[in-house]
């Protein structure tokens, strides 16, 4: 989709008004990313102008070690101009010897984690950050070792730092601490919510996540090649794996200017919607399970199971489809499968209608979900919540409409919003979206074009290009940014999972709720910690800061080999 020149001009003018000479360079990285290189001292002003003046939405910050390319560290703040279908990348530089940059968390609360993350990952200090604790590295990870710097091997295995204890906020007077996690049955994934409770009431909380941090981004830009990364991306999340692989492939395709065949785009759309159907049913079941309503779990998953079988038949695996590759998809959907697909979808629709009719009038379900975990529209915007939680708080954003990808420019989805902002609203939004997905599957199949499913990539991908792609996952908008590099692999691959911003809204949502409401409130976000924590490990104080020499770094690498 062509970007309106007017929108671009408006953004550049707006920034120039505010920054003047501090805007160093403005360029369009095709097809839809406006790159603004600015003076680092103006980052706060530029952010303010973008967010307050121009209505941009903060997506993610990328810290990148550019010492080999440009001799500095780069911090790129990504914004989305939803109405203009435009991404804005605010590119600032940080000195190689003393990397620091002004924090923008004061302007955009949703940037808090992003900034802590680039502090941990590449060691760029966000100056003036309200909560500069460790976010993603393990508790025993030594201070002063930044895994995403290019000179740190991906398989580094430093000895544990001694005497390092995570630092937590102190509970308010009279409150006691109730630990939720890291092993907590309904979370399914390790995460540690430190709840401050008075009786049954939550009076505050602290969060230590990133137990699931596996270092995916580092693997992606240091040891794997462009075409291996999609399988890694798929394993960012076991539920919405196809979303991540699509998003990554699209980012690379954008950066390299690869045209994807139309049938491949339709196939991606089809699988994305199938994934959404299974994910929403899955979520419905899990939500039921969380409030103790196991019948909902059983029935929702019973309805979902044929979808899984179908996915297995189409792709060869129930969850990690392994379908995406740069330039298209690896397998075609045989025509013989299409009637079966339609029948399954019809069956799901019939059953889901029955479930919806039952659940919407069930007062006991209402008792557990209405007025629980309320997220106000204004705050949802502030912390940049995405996906169903945002739409349930009446923030009408949907990556399928804001930045159309795959075949969504032809198969246009209807946006489902609700004004409630509570858990019930999120139930309603998700149910409606499931029906909408069913409609989209039908429509995609009806308009499916013929043709090849893969464009052969014939020439090397040029280095130094930035490709940004968003995909609307069932839990919200996923963002992948790829800065292309040498050696047939990305120089920097940055992933922002939908749970990443959503999780930051949790403290406000559970404040003054009861203990029993916390699991369902969390569950209603459909959190996916593994997506969120793909990179590195939170909150550590330590004595001495060690600086590792190159040789030391190499010696710390794990001994590879078959014996392991």
């Amino acid at each position: 989709m062509a970007v309106a020149e007017g929108a671009m001009a408006r953004v550049v003018d707006g920034i120039t008004d505010r920054l003047g000479q501090q805007l160093i360079e403005a360029s369009l990285s095709p097809p839809d990313t406006l790159q603004l290189v600015i003076d680092p001292s103006a980052v706060r002003a530029a952010t303010e102008q973008l967010v307050r003046g121009l209505g941009a939405r903060f997506l993610i910050s990328i810290g990148v070690d550019r010492r080999l390319l440009a001799g500095d560290f780069g911090v790129v703040h990504l914004f989305s101009m939803d109405a203009d279908h435009l991404f804005v990348a605010l590119d600032c530089s940080a000195a190689a010897d003393d990397p620091r940059i002004d924090s923008i968390t004061g302007v955009v609360p949703g940037a808090a984690w992003s900034e802590r993350e680039f502090r941990d990952a590449v060691g760029v200090e966000p100056v003036g950050h309200p909560d500069p604790r460790r976010l993603m590295l393990a508790d025993d990870w030594p201070e002063g070792l930044y895994p995403l710097r290019r000179d740190v091997p991906y398989n580094i295995d430093p000895p544990p730092a001694e005497g390092v204890r995570p630092r937590f906020a102190a509970p308010p007077e009279g409150a006691s601490v109730l630990a939720m996690g890291p092993f907590y049955p309904v979370l399914e994934e390790p995460a540690y919510f430190r709840l401050f409770v008075e009786g049954e009431t939550i009076v505050g909380c602290d969060y230590r996540g990133f137990y699931n941090h596996r270092g995916i981004e580092k693997l992606g830009d240091s040891t794997l090649t462009y075409n291996e990364v999609p399988y890694l991306a798929e394993r960012i999340c076991g539920i919405c794996g196809f979303i991540h692989s699509s998003c990554y492939c699209q980012a690379v395709e954008k950066a390299a200017g690869i045209e994807v065949p139309r049938r491949a785009r339709f196939l991606r759309t089809l699988l994305l919607e199938v994934e959404r159907i299974h994910s929403h049913l899955l979520w419905l079941g899990i939500a039921g399970h969380i409030i103790g309503f196991d019948t909902v779990l059983m029935q929702a998953w019973r309805i979902r199971e044929p979808v899984m079988w179908l996915a297995e038949e189409i792709s060869g695996n129930r969850k990690t489809y392994g379908m995406n590759t740069i330039g298209g998809v690896r397998r075609d959907v045989p025509a013989a499968l299409i009637p079966k697909l339609l029948a399954t979808v019809a069956e799901v629709e019939r059953e889901l209608t029955a479930v919806r009719d039952a659940v919407v009038t069930d007062t006991t379900v209402h008792a557990r979900t209405r007025n629980v975990g309320r997220l106000e529209t204004a705050w949802a915007r502030e912390v940049c919540v995405v996906g169903p939680p945002a739409r349930a708080s009446n923030v009408a954003i949907d990556a399928r409409l804001d930045h159309p990808y795959a075949a969504y420019d032809e198969i246009v989805p209807k946006i489902c919003t609700d004004e409630g902002g509570d858990t019930w609203a999120r139930v309603v939004v998700r149910l409606n979206e499931a029906f909408e997905s069913i409609r989209l599957v039908r429509e995609t199949l009806a308009h499916m074009p013929d043709g090849p499913v893969l464009t052969e990539v014939s020439e090397p991908i040029p280095a130094g290009r930035l490709g940004i792609s968003t995909v609307e996952a069932p839990r919200g908008e996923a963002v992948h940014a790829v800065l292309t590099g040498e050696d047939n692999r990305p120089h920097r691959w940055r992933v922002r999972a939908p749970t990443y911003p959503n999780l930051q809204a949790v403290p406000a949502m559970i404040q003054n709720q009861m203990i029993a409401d916390v699991p369902i409130t969390l569950g209603s976000l459909d959190p996916c910690f593994s997506c969120t924590e793909r990179v590195e490990a939170v909150d550590v104080t330590s004595g001495a800061i060690r600086v590792y020499s190159r040789r030391e770094l190499a010696s710390l690498a794990k001994r590879g080999g078959a014996g392991r």
Partner: protein, 168 residues
């Protein structure tokens, strides 16, 4: 006598605690899927429990990340004996595609004494059921280490079948 009967009941009522040690959710979802109507592991007395104190088996999914490892060890200590440890999915059995990443220690057997491995990415619910059934001795093992050797290049050139050595 009664005590013996009680001991025999172990495999007939396996309560499991599911620990995610950094998995992508795929295996976790399939573990829950095993309890749902189509697969219904409760047929074999298998239940998910909320507290490790109640559990007989620990299902570990995911590669063991650096951050989660100490907690995982504490978790195992919290389980009463006799106990089984199942490693579910490619990540837990071998470390998955991040087996040598800086943030990952490797498969579950790097930290815990794993009794049964159920590979798959993610394993199908049937594969998990099979694994549990295998652990309970209901089905035979179907895999073994395979060691092949092309003993002689001439033999191969002559189109003769090569020596095949399979050790188990």
């Amino acid at each position: 006598m009664l005590g013996q009967m009680c001991k025999k009941a172990f495999g007939r009522a396996l309560w499991v605690y599911h620990a995610n040690a950094g998995a992508c959710n795929g295996c976790d979802i399939e573990v829950i899927n095993v309890l749902t109507p189509y697969y219904d592991a409760e047929r074999f007395g298998i239940r998910l429990v909320g507290s490790p104190r109640h559990a007989d088996a620990l299902l570990v999914s995911g590669p063991v990340t650096r951050q989660v490892a100490p907690a995982l060890q504490r978790l195992l200590d919290a389980l009463p004996r006799p106990r089984l440890v199942f490693a579910i999915g490619s990540c837990a059995t071998g470390g998955g595609c991040w087996f040598d990443s800086y943030a990952v220690l490797g498969g579950a057997d790097k930290v815990l004494p794993v009794d049964f491995y159920i590979p798959g990415c993610p394993p199908r619910p049937e594969a998990i059921l099979y694994g549990v059934a295998f652990a309970l001795g209901l089905v035979p093992k179907q895999v073994a280490a395979e060691h092949f050797s092309q003993e002689d290049i001439e033999q191969l050139a002559a189109g003769k079948p090569m020596t095949r050595e399979v050790r188990t």
